[in-house]
Symmetry: C2
Subunit: 337 residues, 2 copies
DNA sequence: GTATTTGCTTTAATCGTTTAAAGTATTACA
DNA sequence: TGTAATACTTTAAACGATTAAAGCAAATAC
């Protein structure tokens, strides 16, 4: 079946393509198209099942109505969640989303953003990978509208939607203190990512402000590529020594999963032997024998905000926004009271 | 910073745009461009950091090098897995993937495919939702190349990549028989989806061939929107009566999760109280106290095959393929021996 | 009776590429 | 010397839409 073009409708009705374009783009009034012709055109479009060629449209208008999204790793629950939220909001505003995953690799990240820009996306929503600072600067110079999500670089002045990671961690520790814990440990990733460093800072400050005991073995940074091995050691050291920790806060959902698995293997029971708190939730928690207390990122709101800001930028409204969201605290049964 | 066009390179070097186009598209030899000019053009392209406008390119060549993918529900592990596989293979062949989730809604499914077709994707990979048969027929008539994955309609002759669901279920039951189970139950969804009905058929035939006891309460179909409630009843009935089932096979990963949760709530221990087998794996299994034996779909191979077939179709190689894959059996510790 | 306005429609350039087809030197050969 | 072949290069139409600008009747103004 041959594709129906604007020209075909014009021919069918017996007018020029200009009229057809005006009518189908809702400019019938403005361009003073006669009611008669307008009606005929609309009918013909339906009858012939006209589907405009978006590529031609885009070339002419220089707008693709497409948003490029680069997430850090599609396997993260955060990624699927934020993707969903962004897609929903984008659809509401009549944008399509093309996305890719950088798999936490700076080079892949650059490549991906370039591919998306070449495909003439109107703007980008990015969860930048580690070491992608340079690429962000380039992007900024190129004038492509973009918004960072979740992660940002304190040295670059960009639009972003982020979590108040410092506060969230501080609050989590405070909750543990309030529920009677005194020897609180924290397991994070070995990273240069600012948002994770902020979690470190939150932990440290909270310990200090609450005058809690600190212990180098209670604050661990695991190598992202060796979580399993490093976790084995880290959890053992938390518990085995003469001075065991009484609560552990995991900095990411993946760490929580790895940690809980390890506790299972060691026969450690939660919360009897140690209390557990997690940053973010994982599907895997569903089948753990006890619900895990955690800080929940408001993904829907964050995604929505990111699209809002981006669309404003695309429409040349000189938005400049750096939004911080708070986590919700979801109480489980993984902390002894 | 202004975008660099083909024209700019031409001007910079002092030749026509045609030459530039030939060189940058690897037709320098074929079109007998002088080595001198070819070199100059290549240098200029790099120097000016030329990025071709894909939209213009697509309009002219009528190829977007884009594949549209519609999955049934992005929250399924199957969906993220197959998406990943498809993206990887697509990238290898220099295609971009645009995707959307129909959320198991036929109307949304139609809408999405239309959007993708309007965006001039070169072809589609589809996991059709229930009741989308009509849309598939329309698509077929329109001549758009497409491949179905996971699900297909026995009454429509399309290209597809699927699982041999009948055999997989038959084999799963046979395994349970071999390991000494005699009262095998099966929990599936209430559905008209062919691939799930095939699982029913596999279960029934296996029971018959092995001369096993059948029992209406051992074969349940839960309403997709009410899995939790229905599961509560179904699992209770499996176990409470005078004649309890000794093994249960779940037809999907989501059913497995819901079922295992319910077993947890009832205090049923796996595999002591009942053996469990699952179709497909879920991340959530990670934190269950025992590894779940399951049939694993070869997502990578399926995704790869789907892209292969689609690309052939796009290149007008009159492929006609209906591929079936076998599941791998992953032994866990959820079945009593 | 001519000029102007109104109401509506068409013409044609444009977006940034690709690519037949035509153009133009240079060399080869009779 | 004239013609043909060779080796390049340029011209310009196309892809399918949008949209200023121009065109053209009929109605109104003076």
């Amino acid at each position: 079946m041959k594709k129906v073009l604007l020209k075909d409708i014009a021919q069918h009705v017996g007018v020029s393509t200009a009229l057809v374009s005006y009518v189908l783009n809702g400019q019938a009034e403005e361009k003073q198209v006669s009611k008669e012709n307008a009606e005929k055109i609309r009918l013909a479009a339906i009858e012939l099942n006209y589907q405009p060629n978006q590529v031609a449209k885009s070339l002419r208008t220089q707008k693709t109505h497409t948003i490029g999204l680069v997430v850090a790793d599609i396997n993260y629950r955060f990624s699927t969640g934020i993707t969903r939220a962004i897609e929903a909001e984008a659809k509401r505003r009549n944008f399509t989303v093309i996305y890719g995953s950088s798999d936490e690799d700076a080079q892949k990240f650059s490549q991906l953003t370039n591919v998306l820009v070449n495909r003439q996306v109107d703007g980008l929503i990015l969860v930048p990978s580690e070491d992608s600072e340079e690429q962000i600067v380039l992007l900024q110079q190129s004038g492509t509208p973009f918004v960072l999500v979740d992660r940002y670089f304190p040295n670059i002045d960009t639009n972003y939607v982020a979590l108040d990671n410092y506060q969230a961690t501080y609050d989590a520790v405070s909750y543990l203190v309030k529920t009677g814990h005194k020897k609180i440990s924290f397991i994070n990733l070995e990273t240069s990512l600012f948002h994770l460093l902020e979690r470190d800072r939150g932990y440290r400050d909270a310990l200090k402000d609450h005058h809690l005991e600190t212990n180098p073995e209670w604050m661990r940074h695991l190598r992202p590529q060796h979580i399993k091995e490093d976790m084995e050691l880290a959890t053992r050291q938390l518990l085995e020594r003469g001075n065991p920790s009484d609560a552990v806060l995991f900095a990411t959902d993946r760490l929580s999963i790895a940690g809980l698995k390890q506790f299972n293997d060691y026969g450690i029971r939660i919360p009897k032997d140690i209390s557990v708190m997690s940053f973010d939730e994982a599907d895997a928690f569903d089948l753990f024998y006890c619900p895990i207390s955690h800080s929940r990122q408001p993904l829907e709101k964050m995604g929505e905000a990111a699209v809002d800001i981006l669309v404003d930028l695309i429409n040349k409204e000189n938005t400049h926004k750096q939004l911080y969201f708070r986590t919700d605290f979801i109480a489980g049964k993984s902390c002894r009271e």
